[in-house]
């Protein structure tokens, strides 16, 4: 057996999980899908004394819309989000990105909230949550609070949750109007961690000029990297090749910090990010134009 010994607690309600979390604090790790935690335990990188298994809390598995927001229960599997027609229709960027997460066998068990609470800078969901201004619902026995994506994901493997809190829901505001989207990444093999990746959003005004844009990168920093300066350069522009080039240069030269790995040197990650930025902006721009034309 690979993992070190631990005490196993399974619960069928959020209240029971919160009670155990309050009692055990940081001795206890929450077990969601386990598709990152269990490998870490197999390698003994993680050696929790207690695991609180959330898999039998069916009340935390749901996808619904409320006041135009898409709300996803933390224990909803990534596969359930991938194949959900509401998500495909209301949040096309999420729908496009989920198939890039590992392999189908992993997405069948891996959870939406688990991946976000894990906050691996190479993973796709933190990037999407940031790009779409998601909100995170943290619950403890003492109360509840909402945290914006920009504050929730603090740094590598670190999120804004206290020892007695559980992430219960992720809410996405309505997808902005006249907005095209694109997610692209490059990995050595399908399903591997990407060497670089980007999500692009382009919002066009009725005149076809870019009103605002968003560029968020994965695996080129200690968390999902929001290239604000580059995005600001695109506002008010007609998204010509020159405008896209200028934004891509700013993003990769000033706003990402790739640290390299055995698979890709920082220079290569920068190169990939540069190429993906151009392609993703072009795709997002085309999609936004189609939305505008469809309306007129």
């Amino acid at each position: 057996m690979k993992p070190t010994p631990f005490e196993y607690i399974t619960v069928d309600s959020l209240e029971a999980a919160l009670m155990h979390k309050k009692e055990h604090g940081d001795e206890a790790k929450l077990l969601a899908g386990g598709q990152s935690l269990i490998p870490s335990m197999n390698y003994r990188l993680a050696q929790p004394a207690i695991l609180i298994d959330l898999n039998n809390i069916n009340g935390l598995r749901y996808i619904k819309t409320e006041n135009g927001e898409l709300r996803i229960g933390t224990m909803t599997t990534q596969a359930a989000v991938e194949h959900n027609p509401i998500v495909a229709q209301a949040q096309p960027l999420i729908h496009e990105t989920i198939p890039f997460i590992a392999h189908q066998q992993i997405r069948n068990r891996g959870t939406f909230g688990g991946s976000l609470a894990h906050a691996d800078p190479a993973s796709e969901l933190p990037l999407i949550a940031l790009a779409l201004n998601a909100k995170f619902h943290a619950q403890s026995l003492d109360g509840e609070r909402w945290v914006d994506a920009v504050d929730f994901i603090e740094t590598m493997f670190t999120v804004d949750l206290t020892d007695d809190e559980i992430l219960t829901e992720i809410a996405f505001p309505p997808f902005p109007k006249n907005t095209g989207w694109s997610f692209m990444e490059v990995s050595r093999r399908k399903g591997d961690y990407a060497m670089a990746g980007v999500a692009a959003l382009v919002t066009l005004g009725e005149d076809g000029v870019c009103e605002s844009a968003r560029l968020v990168y994965l695996n080129v920093g200690d968390k999902a990297m929001d290239a604000k300066k580059a995005a600001a350069l695109l506002a008010g522009e007609a998204l010509t090749k020159a405008a896209i080039d200028a934004a891509a240069d700013t993003a990769v030269n000033e706003e990402i910090m790739p640290f390299g790995s055995v698979h890709a040197a920082p220079e290569y990650q920068t190169h990939l990010s540069r190429v993906l930025t151009e392609r993703a902006l072009e795709t997002a721009h085309q999609r936004a134009k189609m939305l505008l034309e469809g309306k007129n």
Partner: protein, 159 residues
């Protein structure tokens, strides 16, 4: 002092009850406690796909699940694939006929990935098949014969 937890599940259609230490991976339980050594252990971090089994009909890595988490669930391993002792599943037949395996280490995980895939996609394209296979690594075949075998199995199952 080892602490064990009682577990009950269905495995290849039969009810099972036993007990396991919390840290025992499901794949280790299947192999060492139940003797179901058809499920292989490869990378133990979810990348290679050799340990793929069906949990409630869904392909799942049995190296990324603890045995105690199988409690109350319906499991199926490669031993449960053939309809009887002297009859093979069309996928197994096709793998033999199309030479879809050499060393065979990856084969059980691939079969357990493909069985529900063909249920849902009775008429798959080559691209569909390659996408479905992307979570299973084979170091012998170069995949072409696996793709051929999957197409052959789809044809057999349509008859």
């Amino acid at each position: 002092m080892k602490k064990s937890y009682p577990i009950q599940f269905t495995i290849n259609g039969k009810a099972h009850s036993g007990e396991a230490e919390a840290r025992m991976l499901l794949v280790d339980y299947l192999r060492t406690e139940l003797g179901l050594t058809g499920t292989h252990i490869g990378c133990e971090h979810g990348v290679c796909g050799a340990c793929t089994i069906l949990v409630d009909g869904t392909p799942t890595r049995s190296c990324l699940m603890f045995a105690v988490q199988a409690d109350g669930h319906d499991l199926k391993t490669v031993e449960g694939l053939a309809p009887s002792e002297d009859e093979m599943h069309p996928l197994q037949e096709s793998f033999r006929e199309a030479h879809a395996l050499q060393c065979g280490f990856c084969t059980p995980g691939i079969l357990m990935t493909l069985e529900p895939f063909l249920e849902k996609n009775p008429n798959p394209t080559e691209d569909d098949i390659r996408e479905a296979l992307s979570g299973n690594i084979c170091r012998c075949t170069g995949y072409q014969h696996i793709v051929d075998a999957t197409q052959l199995a789809a044809e057999k199952m349509a008859d």
